[in-house]
């Protein structure tokens, strides 16, 4: 009987204690952050979406090599000696056209390993974290500043240049060979002459 009454008392009193606590929480300011309107401040050095500053990229492929999941895809074309690509902000001379610089951010694991080896510090993490897309292919970010046509043109230009060079080389070689031939002939002639003189 005593236990019975005690049980009753315990049930009721604990319910009232609980109700007091929950009622108190009605007036505690909410911890909710109204997300799209209000954002949490991100800590410094967060790792989110990558960005590449193409003005500074020298196309050295260091980042692509460092990436553990191979999600950076770079193609470069050498520039012509007559072209001046300018310098990067820390004074390196650019010598390559970067015709393709794709980062497949869907594969990226945000390890930041690509950031450190970059000699010009032009690939880095930003604080953008809202970049969901409907298609997986939309997550391949293309950073190359050259358009496709331009890239083709540069490649063709380079090919032409190389052909020219080849030709020049070949011509030079031919000229050299001819010159050598000539010299040889002349020498022979002279020798012949001398031979004739001797006779």
């Amino acid at each position: 009987m005593k236990q019975y009454l005690l049980n009753t008392w315990e049930a009721l009193s604990t319910i009232f204690i609980g109700m007091k606590i929950t009622f108190g929480h009605l007036f505690v300011p909410a911890v909710t952050i109204q997300y799209p309107d209000v954002r949490v401040r991100l800590p410094e050095r967060v790792r989110n979406r990558l960005y590449v500053n193409m003005d500074d990229c020298i196309g050295c492929l260091q980042c692509a090599r460092a990436c553990p999941v191979d999600c950076i895809d770079i193609e470069t074309v050498k520039s012509l000696p007559t072209e001046d690509l300018g310098k990067t902000s820390n004074g390196k001379k650019k010598a390559l056209w970067v015709t393709k610089f794709d980062i497949d951010i869907a594969k990226c694991c945000y390890c930041q390993l690509c950031v450190f080896p970059c000699p010009t510090e032009c690939i880095y993490m930003t604080d953008v974290y809202e970049f969901s897309e409907f298609g997986r292919n939309d997550l391949v970010y293309k950073f190359a500043t050259l358009t496709n046509e331009e890239a083709k043109e540069k490649a063709a230009q380079y090919d032409v240049f190389m052909e020219e060079k080849e030709r020049q080389k070949a011509e030079a070689a031919k000229a050299k060979a001819e010159a050598a031939e000539k010299a040889k002939k002349e020498k022979e002639n002279e020798e012949n002459k001398e031979d004739n003189k001797d006779k």
């Binding site: 049980n7 319910i15 109700m19 929480h25 909410a30 909710t32 109204q34």
Partner: protein, 363 residues
């Protein structure tokens, strides 16, 4: 009210139809408000904000949800028993709506002035059990059936303490009626507790007699018992096992969608308000104002029923709030605990309470 409507429309039939659909309007508005209240209370009790997007602080959220529910496809699973499946939500809602017929909204409006008001309410609300069982059985789904079985067991068990408490309050009312016989009409019970909160039954009834002070602790206990068992009767936490989301995936209304689900939902909230209103009527003076009427002191007669309606809603909504408050405070009880609470604790207490109140009322 009837006479007024009859005068306006000139036909008894139209007047009756309008008068009987008034609670429906009340329920709809109430549910829209109560669902929002529930979500806001839930949110703030957990230090969240609740709905915030639709309208200022989300006040239009439930209206948006209502339109969403209307647009939903009505899915009926292949193996359900179609006839009963479709009938069940109607029956559940009809059961809870019928209870409103005997609720006195104000001195000017009560659906039906029957003498057996309380008895009628207790009887008609059993229709809900039938509806829930029907829903669970015809869904042809083991979880729904389990929920329905639990619900039936629970409601039938908890009807006993509820009725015992109601009985004791009717006995108290015998002290105040003219013929000394007590009354089952909620209207008359409300009338007895008029003029000031001092006269409320929860404080032992009207007047300053010795019996009032003797009765006071027992009426308080009666109120607690009623509150607990009414929670169980409307399947609210901590007694919400019939629709336990986490174990029975919403119990008897798992298979329902669209408007049929909305009807269960509506019935649940209508029931919540109905038991709250009964609690208000038999313990807290029903539609009577606790502090007197502005209409009386200003001499504007038509203001009084409106004020009464206001007090009735405020009291009802307050107890609805208490139910929500409990919901976000207490965890769900187990089935055996549920039965223990009812048969080992509430019923004996209600019996003892009834006996003591009877003896005090006699002397």
């Amino acid at each position: 009210m009837h006479q007024l409507l009859e005068e306006i429309f000139g036909s008894e039939l139209i007047a009756i139809i309008i008068a009987s659909s008034l609670p429906l309007i009340f329920i709809t508005v109430l549910v829209i408000f109560a669902v929002l209240l529930e979500r806001k209370v839930a949110g703030h009790m957990q230090d969240r904000l609740g709905p915030m997007r639709v309208g200022y602080h989300g006040i239009l959220q439930t209206i948006a949800d209502f339109f969403k529910l209307i647009q939903k496809e009505d899915i009926v699973a292949d193996t359900t028993d179609k006839r009963f499946f479709n009938l069940a939500p109607v029956l559940v809602f009809a059961g809870s709506y019928a209870a409103y017929a005997a609720l006195p909204f104000s001195s000017a409006y009560i659906g039906s002035r029957i003498d057996l008001g309380l008895f009628y309410i207790v009887a008609i609300s059993s229709l809900v059990v039938a509806g829930i069982l029907m829903a669970g059985w015809s869904s042809n789904n083991k979880y729904s059936l389990l929920g329905a079985m639990r619900s039936a067991a629970q409601i039938v068990s908890y009807e006993i303490p509820t009725v015992l408490v109601i009985l004791s309050m009717v006995m108290i009312s015998a002290n105040f009626t003219v013929d000394g016989k007590g009354t089952l009409s909620l209207m008359e019970i409300s009338e007895i507790q008029t003029s000031s909160f001092w006269n409320w039954f929860v404080l032992g009834g009207a007047g300053f007699s010795l019996s009032k002070f003797l009765l006071l602790p027992f009426t308080m206990a009666a109120f607690l018992i009623f509150l607990i068992s009414s929670l169980a009767e409307v399947n609210r936490t901590p007694f919400d096992m019939p629709e336990a989301e986490s174990e029975l995936v919403a119990g008897y209304h798992t298979e329902y969608s669209g408007m049929k689900f909305a009807m269960f939902f509506l019935a649940e909230y209508a029931n919540m308000f109905a038991v709250s209103a009964i609690a208000a009527a038999i313990f807290f003076g029903g539609y009577q104002s606790p502090i007197g009427y502005l209409g009386n002191s200003l001499g504007i007669e038509w203001l009084v029923p409106i004020e009464q309606f206001f007090w009735f809603s405020v009291k009802g909504v307050f107890f609805v709030f208490v139910q929500m408050w409990l919901r976000w405070t207490l965890p769900r009880v187990r089935v055996d605990q549920l039965m223990t609470i009812c048969w080992k604790y509430l019923i004996p207490y209600a019996f003892v309470n009834l006996t003591i109140i009877g003896i005090i009322s006699l002397i």
